[in-house]
């Protein structure tokens, strides 16, 4: 039951995310928003028809595996998120540790995608992501530990239940914005998109076409969905809410996070990788320490 619901959540969520990404791009650019619902599916159909190109002497095996790994990490990560009370695929005592492991391995998937093409732009995208991703993952770990402190548990279900009196977004106002930055980094969007960036003509996907590109884009969207569900659970009380069933609350809250993350991707410029790394290490990481310290003080008996 939980497995079925989670698979549905991930796939339907990915389709909805594809529509939301198109809608946001059209809305911010002032394009007409009619016929948008079918557009991502038409683009997917086009990619299925298009040829899978290759480069000279690529690392063919890793190039094929990278999108699969990226998607698999999104699927494993969402398995620790309770969709409703008692509906969770893997209700682990150390659920956020598994989540953290998955988000860290995203760096490996993205690096493999860029490395395998044997081409300058994808390779530079891969290096850049490895450099900027590390600090983003560190920040997220401190933020998640802060979210876990009130629950006195690393289980995601316990973190949700601990938010019955008050959501973590109120207890720890720094946590959600910092975590959304991680979401931008994990799903390669806007100011944190150093792997598939416009200034590298697409970066790690600049040599990818056809079904391979479709797989990569689906994996990116699945990661966004997985992240949104975790952010909703860690900071917005997950499935908690009156009247509606728990799963409906989680869908609504995840959708809200998804829309905020997509919008942030359009609203903020991306600076150069070295400046972003300085910003992450000097500003964001200390901020996450501060958030953790405040959460620790609040959690004292």
């Amino acid at each position: 039951m939980a497995v079925l619901f989670t698979i549905l959540f991930l796939f339907v969520g990915t389709a909805m995310a594809a529509v939301a990404v198109r809608a946001a791009a059209a809305m911010f650019a002032g394009f007409p928003t009619a016929k948008l619902i079918a557009m991502p599916f038409r683009e997917a159909a086009f990619l299925l028809i298009q040829q899978n190109t290759s480069t000279e002497r690529p690392d063919a095996l890793n190039w094929k595996l990278a999108p699969a790994l990226y998607f698999a990490l999104a699927a494993v990560a969402i398995s620790v998120v309770p969709l409703a009370k008692g509906i969770v695929v893997a209700d682990l005592q150390a659920g956020i540790v598994l989540w953290g492991a998955c988000e860290s391995l995203v760096v490996v998937a993205v690096f493999l995608q860029g490395w395998s093409a044997n081409s300058p732009f994808p390779l530079i995208g891969a290096y850049r992501y490895a450099a900027t991703g590390l600090s983003a993952m560190l920040i997220s770990m401190f933020v998640l530990i802060g979210a876990a402190l009130p629950a006195e548990s690393l289980s995601v279900s316990a973190i949700v239940e601990a938010q019955r009196p008050v959501w973590n977004v109120v207890r720890q106002p720094l946590g959600l914005p910092l975590f959304i930055m991680l979401g931008l980094s994990l799903s390669l969007r806007g100011p944190f998109n150093y792997a598939d960036a416009a200034d590298l003509a697409g970066g790690t996907v600049s040599e990818v076409s056809g079904p391979s590109r479709l797989c990569w884009e689906v994996a990116r969207l699945a990661t966004l969905v997985s992240f949104s569900a975790m952010a909703a659970s860690a900071f917005l009380g997950g499935y908690l809410g009156p009247v509606l069933p728990g799963i409906a609350w989680l869908i609504l809250k995840s959708l809200l996070i998804l829309i905020i993350t997509i919008a942030a991707g359009h609203l903020f410029a991306r600076t150069t990788p070295s400046r972003m790394m300085t910003f992450q290490w000097i500003v964001l990481l200390p901020l996450s320490f501060l958030g953790l310290a405040v959460a620790g003080l609040e959690a004292l008996p």
Partner: protein, 365 residues
Amino acid sequence: MAMKVFAKFASAAPVPIYPAAGSGAEAALDALSLDPRLALVSTPRHASILLVAGNLRDCDRDALRRIHDQLPVPRATLWWETEPLWDARGSQFVSADKDPTDSILKLHRALLCGESASEDDLQPDEPSQPWRGKGEHGQGGEGMMGGAPYGRPMAMTSLDIRDGLQLDSYTARFGPFLPALLPPGLSIEFTLQGDVVQAASVQSAPYSNREHAAAGYRLASNARSMTAQRLRLAARLLDLLDLRALAHRCRRLANQTTIKREAIKPLLTAARRAGAFAAIPPNLAEIAPGNNARARFRSFLGEGDPGAFHRHGRVLRLAELLPGLELGEVFLVINSFEPHLLMRMSPVKTDDQPHKGDEADEENE
């Protein structure tokens, strides 16, 4: 039958076009990007139509043929106001006075539905130069990696000019048809360590403004045209900063028949709020006091004047400005110069097109 229905469904997606702009075509291609039925993409791997517009230099033809072969199948070439350089099945020609949008849409649909044949490769699928590596993987020769497999030297460690971290350096040429990153026609050879440029050398200059005028477009000295050109430059920089929606708004304004100063202000405000100016390192490519990439970007959106572009009475060469910068910064710097300045900074003489940048500058200044 099912495949035909599937192909028809797919053909209604925005048509991915890789634009290869010759002289006088950049503004027209920018206008095409405003149509939601078309998508101008930044790599040939994402395209199904190669759109060649404007006159090309002879020296750029080989590069165009190589780009053609990078497009995935099914693919076709559409020649807009330029003579076809090759005679391939499926290629189409559109004259200068016609909007190519309908032709592109029909061609794309015919390609996907199998009504039009996909173009074959123009080049043989083999290395352009013979194998000159010493060992199986090019190793051997100097040190461990002195071979030159297929004419490309193996990456070798060399001194880093920025932080002392020694990495393998390699040399690659970018351009002349890299629409998202470089102005049309500009081709530069970079030696990179990681993403830091160690050396740069301009191989071919961008197409000139003089040719824009010859092709029937307004001279940049016309006030409206100059504003439109600056808005397009701002759009290129915004694209590089991943602010595509804002870039689109700039292009839409640039294509209006009258451009009011009040209409630019909201774009400037939006760019400032998005951190577009702050995202560019301060004093990046400062060629004279106060004249840096950020100031030039602001001036494109009507704020301030970057002032002189001479340092010690001399126009800096583009290749002098780039070493030590990250590749992302390099593209920001190059696109922060107006075409006539960029031409003066990229003095390259080619056999088929003597450089006339200075004459064009005098006219524009």
